[in-house]
Amino acid sequence: MPPEPLLSVRGLRCGYGRIEAVKGVDLEVAEGEIVALVGANGAGKTSLLRAISGVLPLFSGSIRFAGEAIEGLAPFERVARGIVQVPEGRQLFAPLSVLDNLRLGAFRRGRARTDENLERVFALFPRLAERRHLPAGALSGGEQQMCAIGRALMAEPRLLLLDEPSMGLAPFLVDEILATVARLRAQGVTILLVEQNAVAALALADRGYVLETGRIAHSGSGRALLDDPAVRAAYLGI
């Protein structure tokens, strides 16, 4: 029997009031994988990630992480276990300094490792080191995204959930962010990547899922999805 995946989602339903945004999704992420989650606007990708992080309650379904059921845990307990999200639209603490944003990323980690992790984030994103005393809201779009990723890394994620990290960025910055994602995986971080840039995301990913109005419509290896005519026609615009 293969080892249990790091994350395994079963029959997940969630939404807002009477609106069901995710309508029974099964999804797995194995340790060390990059898994891409693609789909049109409004397909339910953000809702699914929010449910995994615990900030959106489930209607039904189960979430197992590292062999344990976690759907009953509060968001902060999930962060403590290593599920860390870079949310859509970055969601920085705008009036707080870059340094405070990063330190707060380590809120659930020992203070001892905070300085070491800060150094690591600054090595990854030297721009942030230069701007550490500026309010995060004063950063450019690309820098804000670096700050959001850096903040998540401060929490020492076992599973990093990235929600459209390249949204609104210039093309060269998109490449830089995706290169960073690849580098993080090389460092042993497992990644669930939501991207509007589906071709780039699937090319980078080991496996992928295509979400369509709250349901998984296709899944498979990144390569297979890129080659699937149905997926190409509907989602990749090629």
Binding site: G54, A80, Q85, Q91, P95, L96, D100, L104, F107, G137
Partner: protein
């Protein structure tokens, strides 16, 4: 000149108390967008518990400490048993919950204590200090000093500690706060506890000057709210500024126009701010809305 100084000090003294109430409003508002109209009851509890414990023979400092603890317990219970179970309700619902809680606390206080007005001895005697012909109560200095300590202490806590940063982060972006692993429920409980302690402290310090009764909370909540609005709700510096300004306005209105209108000042301020200056004097800095 003497009259001016007299009014100035009187205004600063009540203004310091309004500032503390407004600061309590601000803390809870930042953590939850809820305006806690039970804020005035914490001031009442501070004064009344101290009075009754003192009358029962407890030394004044211990009585004051007991009053702060009682207020904190009430503040935490308010959060735990009224705000927390209503999680997910609209902000308006939560505000109505706090109004209900304030009526409830006042009712209990009326039964546990009584309906009389009560005083405390001034901490350093009643002999007025003379300053350019004005007579200043030593207790006024206690109020001003105590309020200043609270303001500076709170500021340092918010700026220098990780938990303080977590409170500011929750105020700035609650979703992000949860995603970095901040227990926002604890942050809100903390805000209720600290607001209660601050309010109670104000009540203890000012009771020797203004007297207290089970019913003083209502007007104090309204005035603290006016002060917070005036300064720009959600802004701690604005809360202090608004409180002091409101105290001064009241004092000079009472001295130069008529003391009949003293309590009307707060209402006029609320109306003027609502119509002319909805963001308050300091408002929310633009960057917080990014």
């Amino acid at each position: 000149m003497a009259e001016f100084l007299q009014l100035l000090f009187a205004g600063l003294t009540v203004g310091a108390v309004y500032a503390l109430v407004a600061l309590g409003f601000t803390l809870i508002f930042q953590a939850s967008e809820v305006v806690n109209f039970a804020q005035g009851e914490f001031v009442m509890l501070g004064g009344m518990v101290t009075v009754f414990a003192f009358k029962a023979g407890v030394p004044l400092p211990l009585a004051a400490l007991l009053a702060v603890l009682v207020a904190v317990a009430v503040g935490l219970s308010l959060h735990r048993f009224a705000i927390e179970p209503a999680k997910g309700a609209t902000v308006v619902t939560l505000i109505i919950v706090t109004i209900g809680a304030s009526i409830f606390i006042r009712g209990i206080a009326q039964i546990v204590f009584d309906k009389q007005f009560h005083a405390l001895p001034a901490f350093s005697g009643d002999e007025p200090l003379r300053l350019l012909g004005a007579a200043i109560l030593p207790q006024s200095l206690w109020v001003l000093g105590g309020a200043a300590l609270v303001v500076v202490g709170l500021r340092l806590f918010m700026e220098r500690t990780l938990f303080g940063a977590a409170v500011r982060a929750t105020a700035a972006n609650r979703l992000a706060a949860e995603l970095v692993g901040i227990d926002t429920r604890r942050v809100l409980a903390f805000a209720f506890g600290v607001s209660a302690a601050i309010g109670a402290l104000g009540g203890i310090l000012v009771t020797p000057v203004t007297l207290t009764s089970y019913a003083v909370g209502t007007l104090l909540a309204l005035k603290g709210f006016a002060a917070a609005m005036l300064g720009g709700i959600g802004n701690p510096v604005g809360a202090v500024l608004g409180g002091v300004l409101l105290g001064l306005l009241e004092s000079f209105a009472a001295g130069w126009i008529s003391s009949t209108y003293k309590d009307a000042v707060a209402f006029v301020v609320i109306l003027l701010v609502l119509f002319a200056l909805p963001q308050g004097l300091l408002g929310r800095r633009a960057i917080e809305r990014v």
